[in-house]
Each structure stands twice: as structure tokens, then as C-alpha cells.
Amino acid sequence: MNWVTTFFSTSVGKKILMSITGMSFIGFLVVHLIGNLTIYGGKDYFDSYVDHLHSLGPVLHVFEIGLLTFALIHVLTGAVLTFQNFLSRPVRYQMNRNAGGRTLGSATMPYTGAILLIFLVFHVLHFHFADHTVKTTFEIVTGYFVNPFYAGAYVCVMIVAAFHVSHGFWSAFQTLGINHGKYTPMLKILSLLFACIVAAGFGFLPIYFNMFI
């Protein structure tokens, strides 16, 4: 084995993979959210944003392939880590109490991750592979959002995503060795803040469509 595979096959190496890919998803979420906010500008504004995005052409495809690769790494590595962790304590405790370290976000990472994965499959099918010739993206989006089932599911999944990033955000820094009394408390606050931004920023969209349009 060469040094790269040796490095990334260790427990710490695998965590570094989770951290780097996770951090890029956080970056992606920020960009995605900013883009989504154009919806509030109305149909034309949003559709022109989509057109601008698509006019990037090959650059966009490179990003898409990059995201897909990172997603595969994140999901597969996460699955391996979860499976190994599951095996690491064959006999469980009869009584188990938290000492105060765990949070709802940290304790549910594999589950929230799995829900997000299922959501992403549908999300990509619904929007990326939709037939954009008959309807504009705005019409596709509103089509789903006026359906109470889709709207409700979307809001729930955004809350799930918020829990996932509430742990993932600061945890990604810790894994890269970025932890210091000077700024870690701030990173933890940022984690929660970002989680709220994700839940509110994305989660409010269907509510907006159902209540105000």
C-alpha cells in the first residue's frame, strides 16, 4: 500500500475524509441557500438565477462531479465508521447514562445522515433530472411545495439536516486538529447558528409558498 491509502485507512484518516467532505458540503449549503433565496424575488428572478447558473456550463459539471464524488466518499466512509463502531462494543450496558458530552445531534449522526441521503436521491431526481423543457425550475419547485406531503417532508428533512450540521460543523474542525480555547467556543456557537440558518433558511421556503403565494 502506498502512503495515501495507508493514511486514509486508519481511523483518524477516515475521520479526516469525513471532515474535509463534510466541510465542503457546508460550503455548498451556503451557496445553495443563497441561490434559493432568489425564490423570494419571484418567478422571473429565480428562473434567471437558474439560467445564469446553467450558463456556467462545464464549470458547473465539474462542480457536480466533485460533489458527487465527495458525497460517495462521505457516505461510504461514514458507513464503514458506523459499522466498525457498532462492532466495537459487542456486549452492551444494561444501564447507560450520558455524562454530558453527547448532544442529540452527535448521537444521531448516522441516522440523520441516512435520512439526508434518501432525501438527496429524491431531491436530485425531482429537480436535477426533471424535464426542464415543459416547465421552468420555478414551476417545478412550486409544484412540489404546494403539495402538503412534500412540503411537510421537506421541512422535516431540513430540521434533520440542522441536527446533522449542528454536530458536523464543529466536529469537522476538531478532526482536523483545529481546537483551541481561543476560538472553539465560538465555533460551537457558529455550529448551532448555522444549524438554525439551515433549518430556517431552507425550511421556510415551502411555508412561504403555502402561506403567502
Binding site: 486508519t10 466495537s88 450496558y93 444501564m95 447514562r97 458530552g101 464543529w170 478532526t175 486538529g177
Partner: protein, 260 residues
């Protein structure tokens, strides 16, 4: 020790203890009465009392590990009511006193659970996986010869303090026991930090961190997911800042040294 009002109190408890005759035997929770327990006693002394009665009745005493009973050796440890070393923060089991319990309490006592710590008997687990990790790099190689002068190498106080904080780890294994993933990262990070922070340990830092992490994986400990249960349970309050340092050392060693 006094109860505060100068009066020794006596309490009665119900113990639910994991009993298992040997590594491959089937174990189960057994119930015992712990009667007339002085609140001045330590948790281990309380088990001593129960064991004396068990022996007098011709039973098999509960096996548990202990040595110094002063909170410095790292031998003792069990999960008490779901908490490694019991409910008090920064305390080993031998330093946990019965005044933290009330009359009539039920106390569940289980061994440290991890695939890497094989159960020997009752509450005794084999923690030699930690020794293997230390053997993989938790040392500074010193050639024989004259004893070096103390203070010959100046070390900034701040660094010395950080190294001392990490060096407080007594290798008890509570971090593994309390980690939802049974990861040994806090222990390994304390050892890596203690040596990496000092000039004497710096020279071998890249080899050390890589070899110790590999051995940790080899011993089948779980993967750290930054749950922070370890630092909350560690009797020496070792901080996960050390885990971040281990991660940094690991990245540095992987990218900037010839080690693989």
C-alpha cells in the same frame, strides 16, 4: 472523612452486579444487599464489605480490579449506574465515596465494555490493549549513558503545563468505557500529547503518532466521533484538546515526514 455534621451515617443499598465466571462464560446481573454501609467508605470498601459477607456465606466474592485506592494508579474502574467510575466528575471509583449515595438506592455495577477489553471475571477486564499501544510508540528512546542534567533543556512553562495535564492520564480505560463507540482516542491522545509537547519527545513524534494510531486500530477500538463523553467521564479530566493535537500530529506526520 466526615459527613459534614461530624456524624457517620449508615446506609443500605441494593446492588445489581454483573457476575461472570470467566471470559467465555455467560454472565448475568445478580442482586445483593449492601447493609450498614458507612457513608465515609469508598465505593471499593463498600464492595469489600459485601464480599466479606459473601465469603462467610460460602459464596464467590465479586472480582474487581484495584491497587492504590488513592486515585493514582488507574487499576480500578467499573460502570456504576451507567457512568464510568460512577456519578462524580473527575473521580476514580476508589475515590468515589458512599456519601454520594442515599439510603435505599439501587446501584447497578457493570464492567468496562469494549471489544478491545476482554472480560476476565465479573468486573475485571483485560486492558493490555493499552499496553500494546504504549509499546507501539508511547515512549522516548534513550540511549544508556550518564543521566542527563535536570533543566539542561529549557522548556517554556506553558508547554510543561500542557504536557503535565496530558501526563495525568492514568490509563484506566474509562474513556473507552464511556465512549459510545468504545474509542481509545482520549487515552492515545494524552500519551501522544504528553511526549509531543516536550523537546525530548519531539524527535520521534511522527513515528510515534502513526504507530500508536495504527496499533489502536489494530486492537479493534472504535472510531472517535467527537461525542465528548470521554472528557466528561475521565477521572483526570483529560481534555479533547489533546485529541485535536493527536489529529494535528497525525496529519503533520502523514504529510511532512517520511513515515507511512
Amino acid at each position: 472523612m466526615s459527613t459534614g455534621d461530624g456524624m457517620e451515617k449508615k446506609i443500605n443499598l441494593t446492588l445489581k452486579v454483573w457476575r461472570q465466571k470467566g471470559p467465555d462464560k455467560k454472565g448475568k446481573i445478580e442482586t445483593y444487599r449492601a447493609e450498614d454501609i458507612s457513608t465515609d467508605m469508598s465505593f471499593l470498601e463498600m464492595i469489600d464489605v459485601v464480599n466479606e459477607k459473601l465469603v462467610l456465606e460460602g459464596g464467590d466474592p465479586i472480582s474487581f480490579d484495584h491497587d492504590c485506592r488513592e486515585g493514582i494508579c488507574g487499576m480500578c474502574g467499573a460502570v456504576v449506574n451507567g457512568r464510568a467510575h460512577g456519578p462524580s466528575k473527575g473521580t476514580t471509583l476508589c475515590q468515589l465515596h458512599m456519601r454520594h449515595f442515599s439510603d435505599g438506592d439501587t446501584v447497578v455495577i457493570e464492567p468496562f465494555r469494549s471489544r478491545a477489553f476482554k472480560l476476565v471475571k465479573d468486573l475485571v477486564v483485560d486492558r493490555s490493549a493499552f499496553d500494546k499501544i504504549i509499546q507501539a510508540g508511547g515512549y522516548v528512546s534513550v540511549n544508556t549513558g550518564g543521566v542527563p542534567d535536570a533543566n539542561a533543556i529549557p522548556i517554556p512553562q506553558e508547554k510543561a503545563d500542557l504536557a503535565m495535564d496530558a501526563a495525568q492520564c492514568i490509563g484506566c480505560g474509562a474513556c473507552v468505557a464511556s465512549c459510545p463507540n468504545a474509542s481509545a482516542m482520549l487515552f492515545v491522545s494524552a500519551k501522544v500529547s504528553q511526549l509531543a509537547l516536550l523537546p525530548q519527545g519531539r524527535a520521534e513524534a511522527p513515528t510515534r503518532v502513526i504507530n500508536m494510531v495504527k496499533e489502536m486500530d489494530n486492537q479493534l477500538f472504535g472510531n472517535c466521533s467527537n461525542e465528548r463523553e470521554c472528557e466528561a467521564e475521565c477521572p483526570k479530566s483529560i481534555s479533547i484538546v489533546n485529541i485535536a493535537r493527536l489529529n494535528r500530529e497525525f496529519i503533520k506526520a502523514g504529510l511532512l515526514s517520511n513515515e507511512k
